[in-house]
Point group: C2
DNA sequence: GCTATAGTTGGGCGATCGACCAAGATAGTC
DNA sequence: GACTATCTTGGTCGATCGCCCAACTATAGC
């Protein structure tokens, strides 16, 4: 017999619904454009539940954004970690990014969170930890495949990916088939040339 | 004798003060976090003036953001146009970007406008025109200095610069001394290698 | 059944929002 | 002075904001 849904189960589901709806709305309306009532309506719950399950709207938005970003970064990490060569890694990473048009919830949530972090110290600290860890993994991956200057290349590569996502919102033609060759040259040259910094 | 300030002169000054304050506040509070009253207070004018000089708050924010961006892009264009070589151009461009910490009004305004453009068709159209023109000039500059694959390189370069600005807000150590060598390799390799896409 | 505990409801608090407007102030024209 | 055009003021409108809470429901342990 199916397990009966307890009150605690329903509470957990409400929290998850609120977090998911918050991630959507941050992308749609901007970080400061999400209100408790609109959020509750999207999640299909009563308005009062927002401040029952979370200490504040800001805290809810933080949890929602950091959760999504953490998940996405883990996915991307596992993608390039399975790539045998530098070229294959870039190709795989960028190809997976083509799924994001720049106007999709994920891309926009990413950028909105970056901006919100400049106005929220708690968010800034937590987001820094996630990004630093991602760059560390990317650096390690570059080192294992013989790239020189891996730390700086990883930093610029991570920044370039975010920049491409941002620009793609305005220029949908900025697909991986355009970006990949350029970035591949960046990495390839890092491998073939000695450090020149 | 100094020219007496007419009513029209004062009106012009109020418009400029509102536009300047709007650019500041977009960076400080986010696009959707700027209100008519806060804006009027920052500009030192009565609240009612906002809707006298501009049809709506949105229109005011658009004008302010597009004006600032247009000015900045012109400045950057003139910078790299005077650079004789590819290396010198990247060095000059990135060096000038070090003035922006990523938490400064200009960088944040840029990104905020990108995001707002995904929610405002008028803004999206006008911003696209500015960005397209900038990329066209950058492409032309790359062509004149013998870079291969100049169009795609320009697109990625422009996106990478925005991405670096975004990341720098979280990681102030991401200075031009770190970014420049990596991007210079990108451009240099574009010059030395045949198209491999 | 009784009592904690957890979750939920809907409305209310003071504050702020974008937009609007009647009234007043100022400068230029006749 | 009379008239016009322009700008400015301070306040009001209905709507919405984040947050809070008394009342209510439903489950768990006894």
């Amino acid at each position: 017999m199916a397990p009966v849904q307890t009150a605690a189960d329903r509470g957990r589901e409400v929290r998850l619904r609120l977090l998911g709806s918050a991630a959507e709305l941050i992308a749609e309306r901007g970080w400061t454009g999400v209100s408790t009532r609109i959020l509750a309506e999207r999640a299909g719950v009563a308005p009062g539940l927002v401040h029952y399950h979370f200490p504040s709207l800001q805290a809810l938005l933080r949890d929602a954004a950091l959760g999504m970003i953490s998940d996405l970064l883990s996915t991307v990490e596992s993608l390039f970690e399975n790539a045998p060569t530098l070229d294959a890694g870039v190709h795989m990473m960028l190809g997976s990014l083509d799924a994001y048009t720049g106007n999709d919830p994920t891309s926009l949530l990413f950028t909105e969170t970056y901006l919100a972090a400049t106005r929220d110290e708690t968010l800034r600290t937590d987001l820094s930890i996630l990004i630093t860890e991602f760059r560390r993994q990317l650096t390690q991956w570059l080192i294992e495949r013989g790239a020189t200057n891996p730390r700086n290349t990883a930093a610029v590569l991570a920044a370039a990916i975010d920049g491409v996502m941002l620009h793609r919102a305005l220029d949908p033609d900025l697909t991986s088939s355009i970006v990949a060759p350029v970035l591949r040259q960046l990495i390839s040259s890092a491998r073939h040339r000695p450090n020149n910094a």
